[in-house]
């Protein structure tokens, strides 16, 4: 009986302290904790580094007169909010939001943290802005397709490809990236998407050596799949490592390596199908 009672009274205590008005204008730890756990889940999901996550969340909590401690795991965030000098704490665990990398959301959420800290916007206003940020991120997919195509063709040039190689890479990229958008939009597994896209792109990229029209066929086929290289996860992984978030660093690195392996498998399959030698 005794432990149960003890637990019950502790629950009561939490409840009481939650409803109690805090010196910072009536915001209770539980509300802030719920908000911060969602904020963190989105920030991490859209591709922010762990150090940014920590700094932004501390900044928001401090603006509302609270402290926050967090554990960042690869797929979950564990947030504890408390008020300095008081005994009650609230903890929330949330799954990292499954969303695409978006520096736009990252930027706007970071700015929201400064709005809270510098302009002292109210908690209700912060929540409203947060909802607006996470629903407002749209992008013209055709424009992205065009930009990626141009980018990969220029990439080919940087590696020393000639004009023919650039044209072939542009076609291979356009087809592959279009397929990627299409498949991801239908909810296909990202690893399968990488495999299929690199396979298609490498087949198209092999045109150069198949008909021997250009002088740099190996650069064309090598570059044709590079739009798939998961650069941001690799770079985020090293950033986390510098700040000693080793578990997240390792997890991001593993994710990126798996995707790179899928990409390479697709490339190798495409090349052997087209009977193109590696060197």
């Amino acid at each position: 009986m005794y432990p149960a009672t003890a637990e019950m009274s502790m629950n009561m205590m939490t409840k009481i302290s939650d409803t109690a008005v805090s010196p910072t204008g009536g915001l209770c730890s539980r509300e802030l904790c719920r908000f911060l756990s969602r904020y963190g889940a989105w920030l991490l999901g859209c591709g922010a580094t762990c150090i940014r996550l920590e700094k932004n969340m501390r900044r928001i909590a401090e603006a509302y007169g609270k402290e926050v401690e967090l554990t960042v795991m690869p797929r979950h965030i564990h947030v504890t909010v408390y008020e300095p000098g008081r005994n009650d704490m609230t903890t929330a665990i949330s799954s990292v939001q499954a969303t695409v990398i978006s520096f736009n959301i990252n930027t706007m959420l970071s700015r929201l943290s400064w709005e809270v800290a510098d302009r002292k916007i109210s908690f209700a206003e912060a929540e409203r802005q947060f909802e607006q940020i996470i629903t407002s991120d749209t992008q013209n997919r055709w424009l992205v397709l065009l930009l990626v195509t141009l980018a990969n063709a220029s990439f080919c040039r940087l590696f020393g490809g000639d004009a023919v190689a650039m044209a072939i890479v542009a076609v291979a990229t356009a087809a592959g990236y279009y397929l990627k958008q299409l498949l991801l939009g239908r909810g296909a597994d990202v690893r399968v998407v990488f495999l299929v896209c690199s396979f298609i792109s490498s087949i198209l990229g092999a045109t150069d050596s198949l008909f021997s029209i250009g002088t740099t066929p190996e650069i064309a086929i090598g570059t044709s799949v590079l739009y798939l290289v998961p650069g941001i996860p690799f770079l985020n992984s090293f950033s986390d490592m510098l700040y000693r978030h080793y578990i997240c660093a390792y997890s991001r690195f593993a994710d990126a390596v798996v995707l790179t392996a899928c990409l390479s498998t697709g490339l190798c399959a495409g090349m052997s199908l087209m009977h193109v030698g590696m060197f």
């Binding site: 591709g47 922010a48 580094t49 940014r52 700094k55 695409v100 990398i101 978006s102 520096f103 736009n104 959301i105 990252n106 930027t107 706007m108 970071s110 700015r111 943290s113 400064w114 510098d118 991120d137 992008q139 424009l143 992205v144 930009l147 990626v148 195509t149 141009l150 980018a151 990969n152 220029s154 990439f155 040039r157 940087l158 590696f159 650069i219 090598g222 570059t223 590079l226 739009y227 290289v229 650069g231 941001i232 690799f234 770079l235 985020n236 090293f238 950033s239 510098l242 790179t260 390479s264 490339l267 190798c268 590696m278 060197f279």
Partner: protein, 160 residues
């Protein structure tokens, strides 16, 4: 010569804009991405060119990335975006794609080749390209992240 450098800068800028688009940056960040990438990549081009310093690609990438990182840290407050937003797309043109490709090629030939001398040659290609690729990547990320680490104050107040 100047034309070559400008060409390198131009294509690096286009590549940066396109690869930035994949990670959905705010619109005003594109210009900064392009500038930083163009300056960084042409700096590496100059460092590696025989007429100037003929530097090793790993060292040149490290120095260019450090430069790119510092530029990103000090330009991002102007664009009011986190430093990473400008930095990462600007680094992507320096990713050693062809080395990575040749590494996998070497590995595939190791596995499918059967006679010893062919294997040694493939293994040599695998190891040589793989090591170069790995150290370019390491140099790149360490070089680019050090400025963010040093100028913590500036880089985390960019969106203020």
């Amino acid at each position: 010569m100047i034309l070559q450098i400008l060409q390198d800068a131009l294509f690096a800028a286009i590549a940066a804009i396109g690869f930035a688009a994949i990670s959905r940056p705010p619109r005003r960040a594109y210009l900064y991405c392009a500038i930083i990438a163009a300056v960084g990549h042409s700096a590496r081009f100059i460092m590696m060119h025989e007429e100037f310093f003929s530097m090793n690609i790993i060292l040149a990438t490290f120095l260019a990335s450090f430069f790119v990182g510092s530029l990103a840290v000090f330009l991002s407050p102007l664009a009011r975006v986190p430093a990473e937003t400008c930095l990462f797309p600007a680094l992507l043109p320096m990713i050693p794609g062809i080395y990575a490709y040749k590494t996998f090629g070497g590995l595939a030939m190791c596995i499918f080749g059967n006679d010893e001398s062919a294997f040694s040659h493939s293994f040599y290609l695998f190891a040589q390209n793989g090591l170069t690729c790995l150290f370019i990547l390491l140099g790149m990320v360490i070089g680019a992240t050090i400025p963010i680490f040093i100028f913590k104050k500036v880089s985390f107040q960019a969106t203020r």
